[in-house]
Amino acid sequence: MRSKILLGFTALALAAAPAMARPFDEVVKDGTLRVVLYEQNAPFSDMKDGKPYGIEVDLAEAIAKALKVKAEIRLVDAGENVDGDFRLNLWKGDLAGSPLADLMLHVPIDKLLAIRNEQIFMTRPYYDERLAFAWRKNAVENFETVGDIGKTPIDVEGNSASDAMLLTAQGGQLRENLKHFKSFEEAAKAFLAGDAPILAGTRANLEAALFAAKASKDEIGIKELRLGGPVKLSWEIGGAVKSDSRDLGYAIGDAMTAMAENGSLKSIFEKYGVEYAAPKGY
């Protein structure tokens, strides 16, 4: 905690003037690409032993390498919504005066989100995210449809996509099944310790948690269910830059395309136990 506060201050001191998000040539000239990633967002990004760690940390470094610059990664808390994160990290800044980033990763590539945030420009997507369930095969006999859930308890991170989906799906009939946790990590820990027979999360969350726990695929399965409700069951993830830095966005997109084609994107995901799911049409 304390060391992190100090880290923050150093970053502030280095950026004497409130740093602006910058177009491609300025990033190249400066030699650094400032990237903002979410904290507590494993397997994509989190702090581990005092250092940023995860799929998007590796991705940010690979992008920076392709642009022949150094990545300067900062982990931030997620705000109330992604629109707010754009404002805080890319174009306006926060009330504490933290420096703006050139690039934000883990951005849902959604046309409506892009339209209502004209200050930012989205890159091409690099991953297709889906909501899913992990289930203990010996505890749930059949797990093919929503009806198979019945009254089976479900471990879930509170206020997460899966939580919003489960609270509203099927007219709300699954609400009483939910066992809420403060983070996905805590929910997964409880599930793996034998708490509820079902764990809800994103596919990447689930795969990485099972991989880290060395769980057997014969005992625990992963399943996507088609639940009816207002919350999206899948979306694509990409990056965002400030709208006056489109050339930077294109250069990053080109770097991602090259990585998708030469298989290095897939290897990054696999390192964390996540099966690479290419966005549709890429």
């Binding site: 506060i5 808390d77 992604v82 504490a96 207002p230």
Partner: protein
Amino acid sequence: MRLRDQFLTAAGALALLVGAAAMSAPQAKEPEKAAASGGVSDQDILNDAKTPEDVVSYGLGPQAQRYSPLKAINKETIKGLVPAYSFSFGGEKQRGQESQALVKDGVIYVTGSYSRMYAIDSRTGEKLWQYEARLPEGILPCCDVVNRGAALYKNLVIFGTLDAKLVALDQKTGKVVWKKDIDDFKSGYSYTAAPLIVKGKVITGVSGGEFGVVGRVEARDAETGELIWQRPVIEGHMGTLNGKESTMTGKVNETWPGDMWKYGGGATWLGGTYDPETNLIYMGTGNPGPWNSWLRPGDNKWTASRIALNPENGEIVWGFQTTPHDGWDFDGVNEFVPFDLNKGGKTIKAGATADRNGFFYVLDRTNGKFISASPFVEKINWASGIDENGRPKYIAENRPGDPSKATGDEKKGKSVFAVPSFLGGKNWMPIGYSPDTKLFYVPSNEWGMDIWNEAVSYKKGAAYLGAGFTIKPVFEDHIGSLKAIDPATGKVVWNYKNKAPLWGGVLTTGGGLVFTGTPEGFLKAFDAKTGEEVWKFNTGTGVVSSPITWEQDGEQWIGVAAGWGGAVPLWGGEVAKSTAGINQGGSFWAFKLPKKLATR
């Protein structure tokens, strides 16, 4: 030498005070030993409303009536009120200044935005010391970087910071005496309210709206900061007393489904009031989470409520829920102000509160029994009124829709126009009560909101069920409305309309005046009986704080922090038009009525 002078002044003032108290209130106890050492004693705090030469507590006394008996400034003499000095908070940090200043022994203690504190000479405006909290990067305060004020106790001045710490400074030097974490700011906790001192304990709530934040009230030893008791406000949670579990708040699942009580919200972000007559602390509690009410059937206690607590052990003595099963973000933290209600020839120990939901409630403060409720803003449409038990008569079609029944491509759910908006008929800005006019003075806002389920919504890069909203004025010519309300009848006696939303507290005086600030930059004074505007002064930036008054060297002074900000400028749309072009600032203004002009 200076120290000695102050000691003498304090002792002199105290002697006067004890004399006055002894005449009017024979039960008043002897001042405690701490007072003799020149500090602020418990007795000083209890007597604050009757000692106009100082302001040692938030609200001008623990009941927070914001009434001073000072009479020199009245509607005739106020023409002579002149600025004495303006003190700049300095730095590049401006934004909203919501602080109520304190004044004791020739020193003003005032907090500024970004968790700063200043001690200034109350006669000259010269700075004595300044304290700036070192705020970590990554704090995400929801609604501006404000602070609402400090508390004085013995030789300490205590205030809370945006990263959820409580800091006690030495009044003379500004040096830290103790510092405690209220909670972890990384989990979404913050602190902006003025702490309350009750019998040597510093009483605080918590700020924060993130998942997992549960509102609670805490008491610490004011001299050391050591925790004495904690009381979570959501049923099912255990309280603590002296480091051990005490009792559970309510019963598990009585008014919540599943395990949703665990993360129920109810942040106690505005702090509380205290009534020495009933020996109860009154706290308001915030809205429940998640925001959409359909996801949590039940009353969801004690969110959007007033609760009365025993200061010794933190037990809840009574609770009254203003908005059961809140669906509009009617964050019911509003202060509960004790007063004596004269009704049918009887005096009732009552208390009043002007709720976010637009209704002005009068309750029996001994037991929380409902006495009356009346609308204090116009065109309320989420409820048709409050029934004889104090429960809202909901208008079903004006509750935001059930997301699980949402249809269509964007699955927005039903959009409703609800009045008031989630910023409330009244927000944080404190009301005042004058025992002379027997009226409450309520800074209110006339606005509504379109609110709907936002299906295309993402949090931390993942799909989410968000809310979309647009705040809209209800009238074309004004949003702000300062109202005088008769608590015996619920009637609005007068109404001053202001173009921009009102966001500052009020002060009432024995001179028959009501003071409040406006975003347009004015500190204004009104005739407490008629609402006639009798004086105004432009501070050069918006006024969104609570004014004070005190007497010094035989003259009456008025003080107010100035600096535009708060939650209003963060919300765009048509409301922003009324405040467009208002510049930020950060200063403390002092005014005085020179002696020669006061005689009449």
